[in-house]
């Protein structure tokens, strides 16, 4: 019969083994992808005019989406965290809809929305369907939902008391949030924007359906992977994939570093 100490050890060893196998699986995927190509192939693929355009468009649209997501996520996250009102749980669930919807369906919903009289009226001012603005909108639908979750969590972790004190000292609620709460939430805001940015970088389905996959127009990095795969250019697809993995890693590390200091 084993002692409690050895039972505990085998328990933790089993957990460690499961975690280790999972980590090994992830690292194997990445290592295999990295080993598939050579630095020479990689540079050649990235030097192609179309790929350089898609890198530039991805960086620009992801940054625009991250900023727009943050602009939405700060007030909505605050409302969900501090607001007390009827229907709050319904609103909370509704804001998760873009996260749980299949990505292709998000694209299809956008496409149909912009065929309605309201959508056509909007398009007469700013065209979205099959345009760069459409890429940003498709990324925003999902990126903003993640940013809202992150900001809500950030505000949940911040005590409302300093804000209340600021109000007794002469601030309106808005000014107290601006002067006291938002500076304290700055790392959460950075994390929310980064998460929206990273989600947007990998977004493919809604962009394909709503903004199309036109080279040198609405082609972002995931579109490049798909287009290169579809013509059998596996090395270019792998080169773009490695670039996306590297960008995702940078965001992951940045968010982790910011998160540890929140």
């Amino acid at each position: 019969m084993s002692s409690p100490r050895s039972r505990l050890s085998s328990f933790w060893i089993a957990l460690g083994l499961i975690t280790g196998l999972y980590l090994l699986f992830i690292l194997s995927m990445l290592a295999a992808t990295a080993a598939y190509t050579t630095p020479g192939h990689w540079w050649r693929a990235l030097a192609a005019r179309e790929i350089r355009y898609s890198i530039g468009l991805s960086l620009a649209t992801c940054t625009a989406t991250a900023l727009l997501s943050l602009l939405l996520a700060v007030p909505v996250g605050y409302l969900l965290s501090r607001g007390r009102f009827r229907g709050k749980s319904m609103l909370d669930a509704a804001l998760d809809v873009p996260i749980v919807l299949p990505p292709m369906v998000v694209g299809l919903c956008l496409l149909i929305l912009f065929q309605t009289p309201f959508g056509r009226a909007v398009e007469s001012v700013v065209p979205f369907t099959y345009t760069v603005a459409g890429v940003v909108l498709a990324q925003f639908v999902i990126g903003a939902a993640f940013a809202v979750r992150t900001m809500r969590g950030t505000f949940d972790h911040l005590s409302p008391r300093p804000e209340n004190v600021a109000m007794t000292l002469g601030c309106s609620r808005g000014r107290a949030v601006w002067l006291v709460t938002l500076p304290a939430a700055r790392r959460g805001m950075f994390a929310a924007a980064s998460i929206a940015w990273a989600r947007s970088l990998g977004e493919f389905g809604p962009i394909l359906v709503f903004a199309g996959a036109t080279r040198m127009k609405t082609e972002v990095l995931p579109t490049s992977v798909w287009l290169e795969l579809s013509v059998g250019n596996l090395e270019a697809a792998v080169a773009v994939s490695i670039l996306m993995v590297a960008l995702a890693m940078v965001v992951l590390v940045a968010v982790r570093l910011a998160g540890e200091k929140v």
Binding site: N164, M167, T168
Partner: protein, 213 residues
């Protein structure tokens, strides 16, 4: 002077009904009661952070019931000090005066005076995470007093401190209240604290406030 007239407040099963009491100008009142009996709610109603269902809050004979917290002329010190996380001690104490757009020289002078009075002059450059519990409460007190409020509301300001520090800070509170002639309402669970500080002692039981001394 703080005067509550028939204050009622409801939240689910919890209710305060027709709470009335008065603290004359310049007196130090202590309010005691069981955990969850509504002491903090009552303090927040006086602050203007919660609106009562009915009744009136008067400060220095002025009905402030419908007024926002910032114009009531109160200083508020919550339980844990509630420091502004990104501001230095100097910025915290000068906060109310900066909001009122007072000249920088006046703010500096007032911050210096209060810091000296409260024994935090050497901490002016520090951020809250570098302060001990007692230091935080001193800074919170300075921040509440900077704009020269007529009443001071303290929500268990000594509860997180060890006993020696508690006695020191209790003496400081009493001294400052006397020197400034300010009307104070202090919430506590501690009978010892109440005995040290109270000119007037109130108890909140079953949604009603009664004077105990």
């Amino acid at each position: 002077m703080i005067r509550l007239e028939n204050i009622s407040w409801h939240a689910g099963a919890f209710r305060l009904e027709n709470v009335s009491f008065e603290i004359p100008t310049g007196r130090y009142a202590v309010l005691m009661g069981r955990t969850g009996c509504g002491k903090t709610t009552l303090l927040e109603i006086i602050c203007g952070l919660r609106q009562p269902a009915s009744g009136a809050v008067k400060i220095d004979s002025r009905d402030v019931t419908g007024e926002p917290p910032g114009v009531r002329g109160i200083g508020y010190v919550p339980q844990d000090g509630a420091m502004f996380p990104t501001m230095t001690v100097r910025e915290q104490i000068g906060f109310a005066l900066r909001l009122r757009r007072r000249p920088i020289a006046e703010i500096e002078q007032r911050v210096g005076e209060l810091a000296e009075h409260l024994g935090v002059t050497s901490l002016l450059h520090r951020l809250p995470h570098d302060l001990s519990g007692g230091e935080r409460q001193r800074v919170a007190l300075g921040r509440a007093l900077a704009a020269k409020p007529s009443v001071l509301l303290l929500d268990e300001p000594l509860s997180a401190l060890d006993e020696d520090l508690r006695d020191d800070l209790a003496s400081l509170l009493k001294r400052i209240q006397r020197e400034l002639g300010i009307t104070a309402l202090h919430i506590t669970h501690s009978a010892r604290e109440a005995a040290q500080l109270a000119d007037l002692l109130f108890r909140l039981d079953d949604g009603k406030v009664r004077e105990a001394s």
